[in-house]
Amino acid sequence: MQYLALIYAAPENEPVYGTPEFGAMMAGYNAFTAMLKANGSFVSGEGLKPATTATSVRVKQGKVETMDGPFAETKEHLGGYYLMEVPDLDTAIRYAAQIPTAGYGTVELRPITVW
């Protein structure tokens, strides 16, 4: 099964660029990605620019409306994702728990629909 791991965190909890904590987080992400690739579970994965760069788009009565900012005003913002191919939810949970941001944010697991 494929699961999308959506990685959320509150900006104030994120390690600051240039600090040793930031370095440790990046090393953790590199190791995690390498592990997924080595065992064949990696489908794709990216980090996103901050939510302050988000633009939300809607079409109302044929008219395109754009809004500055993310779709929902929440404390934790979407910061990145992994798409993983694993046998079951337990495996997906075990991997999600190894994503560095899970230590101070939230990882939401969503199974991919098979049509």
Binding site: M1, P87, D88, L89, D90, A92, I93, L109, V114
Partner: protein, 407 residues
């Protein structure tokens, strides 16, 4: 269908089989068809056929094996009728192969997989409890709804949602591997304990005694995994606590532990619990349920509860489970050892977290009274009474509060 109404004797055999073996039958079916709902629907179909076939040729020697065999076929029929997509067709192929090798005697007991699946932490805690009672213990949706003060449609919806999540979220029908075992087992034992507590709070007069269902589940777990000390600790806890149930209320009024008539306790169940606990602790793999079992054992000690030991055990439990409820029980034990000011201090710190928890206000009322703070105690009794659902508890609290006003 036949013209005559089904023979009541056959209905009784079918009901008894489903009551006793529903979990085993469903586990075997789900292991093959991989889907809770399909397994339940197929079992229902098989039950309907049973009354017709058994009426014609007499009941089979092993009704449970008959039901499993026929339900397999019914599941295949259902899949065949609705197999439109590739995934369902694959399931059908697997099933047909399985049917060829199926022999009732060789069907393994898959109930452990069923229990771990029903208690999966990805489900809401209440859904875990409901699903376990429905599939393993064989309670009806109506009975579960009544136990949890929900309407039947609400409970049915909850069960359907849980089964859909099991299927759609890719929750494996399996026992966890060694690395996930301790955590997942705690989730299973928490469900058993919740079921027991629901029965304990409701009191022994309910139609389906949930305490007895919880003891049944814990016993089943010890049979399926006899070497796990936490499972044994959980069964010991339930047996020893349940052993006191005849003494818990006299004349419709709750009796405090220290005042209970020990002649009404079930000595046999206590002995069983103590033996289980002893062999569990000899494995030297301690855990929260062994500690809770040990606390229950200290409560039934000859000569009265061993409060100092109970307080120390709650210290250990708090290190593993730092919850306000454990802290509350620790405070009660400390108060009973005579450390009243310290206990009241601890209770004071718990007020915000436990403001809607009846036992907190009942305990606080008792110890405020002992400390001579009568007015505050009175208020705490009022708050406890507001939160009390059991008539026996309410009568007990009202009597305590009345005694307070007189003194």
């Amino acid at each position: 269908m036949s013209d005559a109404a089904p023979d009541p004797a056959l209905i009784a055999i079918l009901d008894q089989t489903l009551r006793a073996d529903r979990g085993r039958i469903l586990a075997a079916l789900i292991a093959r068809v991989g889907d809770f709902q399909l397994a339940e629907d197929a079992l229902q179909d098989a039950g309907t056929s049973a009354l017709v076939h058994w009426g014609r040729s007499g009941p089979p020697a092993r009704p449970e094996a008959w039901l499993i065999r026929v339900a397999f076929r019914k599941a295949i029929d259902r899949l065949r009728a609705s197999a439109r997509d590739a995934r369902q067709f694959r399931a059908l192929v697997v099933l047909s192969i399985d049917e060829a090798v199926e022999e009732p005697e060789l069907i393994q007991d898959d109930r452990m997989r069923l229990i771990f699946t029903c208690c999966h932490p990805a489900l809401e805690p209440k859904s875990r409890v409901a699903l376990t009672l429905r599939t393993i213990a064989g309670l009806s949706t109506a009975e579960i709804a009544r136990a949890f003060l929900d309407s039947e449609p609400t409970m049915a919806q909850r069960l359907t949602r849980a089964k859909t999540k099991l299927r759609e979220a890719g929750i494996a029908f399996d026992v966890p591997g060694p690395e996930d075992w301790p955590g997942r087992l705690q989730s299973v034992l928490a469900v058993v304990y919740l079921i027991f507590n629901a029965g304990y709070t409701a009191g022994p007069d309910e139609a389906r005694d949930l305490c007895a269902e919880a003891v049944f589940l814990a016993r089943l777990l010890t049979q399926l995994a006899p070497d796990d000390p936490e499972i044994a600790g959980c069964l010991a806890l339930l047996l020893i606590t349940h052993a006191r149930h005849a003494a818990r209320a006299v004349g419709g009024v709750t009796v405090a532990l220290s005042d209970q008539d020990r002649a009404l306790w079930d000595r046999n169940a206590i002995e069983q619990g103590l033996l289980l606990l002893q062999s569990a602790m000899a494995r030297r793999r301690p855990g929260p349920y062994q500690i809770k079992g040990a606390i229950a054992a200290c409560q039934v000690q000859d000569g009265g509860p061993d409060w100092p030991q109970i307080a120390l055990l709650y210290d250990s439990l708090y290190r593993l489970e730092p919850t306000p409820v454990v802290q509350l029980n620790r405070a009660v034990a400390l108060a009973e050892t005579g450390l009243l000011p310290h206990a009241l201090d601890l209770l004071g710190q718990l007020g915000a977290q436990l403001q809607d928890y009846q036992p907190f206000h009942a305990a606080r009322a008792e110890y405020l009274a002992r400390a001579g703070q009568i007015r505050q105690s009175h208020d705490a009794y009022d708050r406890a009474l507001d939160l009390t659902t059991s008539v026996a508890d309410a009568t007990f609290l009202r009597q305590r509060r009345a005694a307070l006003t007189l003194s």
